[in-house]
């Protein structure tokens, strides 16, 4: 491949990439239905059934239909996710959010799992290092005839390569 061919190739590649990105972003506008689906799975039904709003389907639920209508209306009115969540928690309390918000005290809920994981990981690595460091001194083998005879017996019984056993 000569120089000009290479330049053309890279030009084409860049164009293709730009086109791909443009296509992706033009598809980025999510439909109201998809947004409803997303948000209704981030809010709870408040009737006490402990189910996500988008999944509460038990007959005679006193809350979910109304909440869903409110959500649809808020989406139709063009509110942002933050506005919708704020409005819902103002009305129903923080309990309506399916996961705690990542701020204030509730941030701990999100941080703790990863902090614990990281600490435990570090701990295990340090532990293993310390253990394996303690092993550096080569163990002394016993070479007296009695031990050697026993070792020979053991090798026979546990199947060395020579006798084809297991």
């Amino acid at each position: 491949m000569n120089r000009s061919q290479a330049a053309v190739f890279w030009m084409r590649a860049c164009q293709a990439l730009a086109l791909a990105v443009a296509v992706c972003f033009s598809m980025g506008a999510t439909t109201a239905g998809a947004r409803f689906n997303d948000l209704s799975h981030r809010l709870m039904c408040t009737c006490g059934c402990a189910q996500l709003l988008g999944e509460c389907n038990h007959v005679g639920c006193t809350e979910s239909t109304r909440e869903r209508n409110e959500l649809s209306a808020a989406i139709a009115a063009g509110q942002t996710n933050q506005q919708i969540f704020a409005a819902f928690s103002a009305k129903y309390g923080a309990i309506v959010l399916a996961a705690p918000p990542a701020k204030g005290f509730d941030l701990i809920a999100w941080i703790a799992p990863f902090a614990v994981f990281a600490a435990a990981l570090l701990g295990v690595i340090l532990l293993v290092r310390r253990w394996s460091a303690g092993q550096s001194a080569p163990a002394v083998l016993h070479n007296d005839p009695a031990t050697l005879a026993l070792r020979e017996k053991i090798r026979r019984e546990t199947g060395s390569v020579n006798n084809g056993g297991f």
Binding site: I95, D106, A109, R129, S132
Partner: protein, 672 residues
Amino acid sequence: MATFGSLALLIALALAAYNLLAGAVALRLLATGQSSRIAPERLADTARRAGIAGFVAVSAAAFALIWSVFANDFSITYILEHSNRDLPAAYKFAALWSGQEGSLLLWAWLLGTFGFILRLRHKTDVKLYAYAGTIIAAVQVFFLAILVFAAPPFALTQGAVPQDGFGLNPLLQYPEMVIHPPLLYLGYVGFSVPFAFALGALMMRYPGERWIKITRVWTMVTWLFLTLGIFLGMHWAYAVLGWGGYWGWDPVENASLMPWLTGTAFLHSVMMQEKRGMMKSWNIWLIFSTFLLTLLGTTLTRGGLVSSVHAFAESSIGNWFLVFMLLVLAVCIFTYILQHRHLESERQLESLVSRESSFLFNNLVLLTACFVILWGTLFPILSEFVQGSKVTVGAPFFNRVAVPIGLFLIFLTGVGPLLPWRASSFRSIRRNFVAPVVVLWLTVIGCLAAGIRPWNNGTFDRGDFYALVAFVLAAAVVTAVVVEFLRGAKVISRQTGGNLFVSIFALIRRNTRRYGGYIVHVGVVIVVVGLAGAAFNRSQEQELALGSKMPIGPYTLVCTGFTQDANPNYDSEYAMLDVYRDGKRAFQMNPEKRVYTASQQPQTMVAIHSVPGWDLYVVYEGANPDTGQPIIKAFLNPLVSWIWAGVALMCLGTVIALMPSQKPAALKGGQA
């Protein structure tokens, strides 16, 4: 029968209490060598027999309850509230565990059964069994005390006895529900046995690791039951709750998952102790925690601490469980402090990349997962305590936090078996990784080509990304396991001259535990692939007039009518849908809605058409009150059947691992 049942429970409690007291006194006398009026060994034997007799008494009580259900004895409150005359026979059995009192009785009965088997086999190691039997008796005393004092299953109805009962909760009238709770309870109760042996072995400073061998079968069977119980619960939720999913991170689901995670960790790390005498303290605490976690679920939901779809009845027994848990914890800590010198490790680890350290990491991840679930389940309580207001920690939290941990676990599932025991450096074992890594990258390319891309629609899609990682890791893990089988089989075939299949069979027979374990791993991976499919779920809701169409995925649903039906147990209403694929009528589906006569509670019956690629899952949501036309919600859930297939493989693997390995001597003899 109520009198007989109550009396039987009382007798059982007395016997369990005697078993505990006499057992403890006898063991104390034997340990200190004090002389006494009665020979301690005879005392210990009466304690053992009291345990066996206690089992008979609890069985009599359970029998009395079942008898009363079938005799429609509505003078017993429990039966009035959980059964009715027209309830099908299988569900009458289920009435035993559909309410709190019955579940506790089932728990006590299962514990009695396990204790019975254990006490019959006591000749294996009389002293160790005496300790374990006494500890089991202590647990039994707790359950029987609740049954006698706090939640009596044979309490009588006040006033006139109604003609018919209120019926079984319709949610529970489903075949899986007949077996899911007992399996789960078998899983919970089963962990009492390794717990009792571990605690007993620690108390008596049992020399060696043989107690692990003795309890191995118990632990594995228990693990199998718990696994089956959890997955049957998932299948039940999927088929009955009608929201298109199978796992909602409900506190009770979480409560069953936590002991499963620690139990799985125990199954792995106990091998380190058995093989190499390492991690003794760790294992002891793993089994202690597992046992405590089996009690936690009941404590949380029955105590009303957390809200759950399972908390049918909040009651005072939550406090009983809390006190008992604290008591057990205190005993564990006390014994550990007293005896921890007995648990010093015999040897140390060779390197960061050996099989041993992979078990450490496996434990780390499993326990972190357990912590995350515990944390998420308890955080609302903490938040209420600190902030004064409750928050919800639901599915979005767990999906965000637990999924990466799960994927890391799958990664370890693949890496672990590739590392030999006592390896010294990574350089020397690099070649073990070639095939899995090649397959890993091939799968990445394959998935990207097939359109599984994390950057769909120009934005990063976390679900798709996780699915991609899950598929890729799954392929690598399966490769690693296959390579492992082939390697072993080659050695066998070199020596016996047999072909590959014969050699693989011989290989599994030679070490059922290891190769059965690998099969379980493949099962887990298949389950994970099925779970990852959820990233691509689709759903559609529509009001379907007669003859109107609803497209979803490759299918088109056409409503051909809706109708009603009735039987003594329930009235039902269902839609008849023809499903077309590629323009041809492929099959019919009848999603249904039932109203149970006795309880007057409604219940959906989902119609599911399952193929390996996906499930078509159709719910009849009821008729629109304005138009009278049925509202149908359809889901297309990819790869769900992989979950159930994976579980089947997990069971198969566990059963293989439970079979005894062929002894090397026998093999040698066969060859000679």
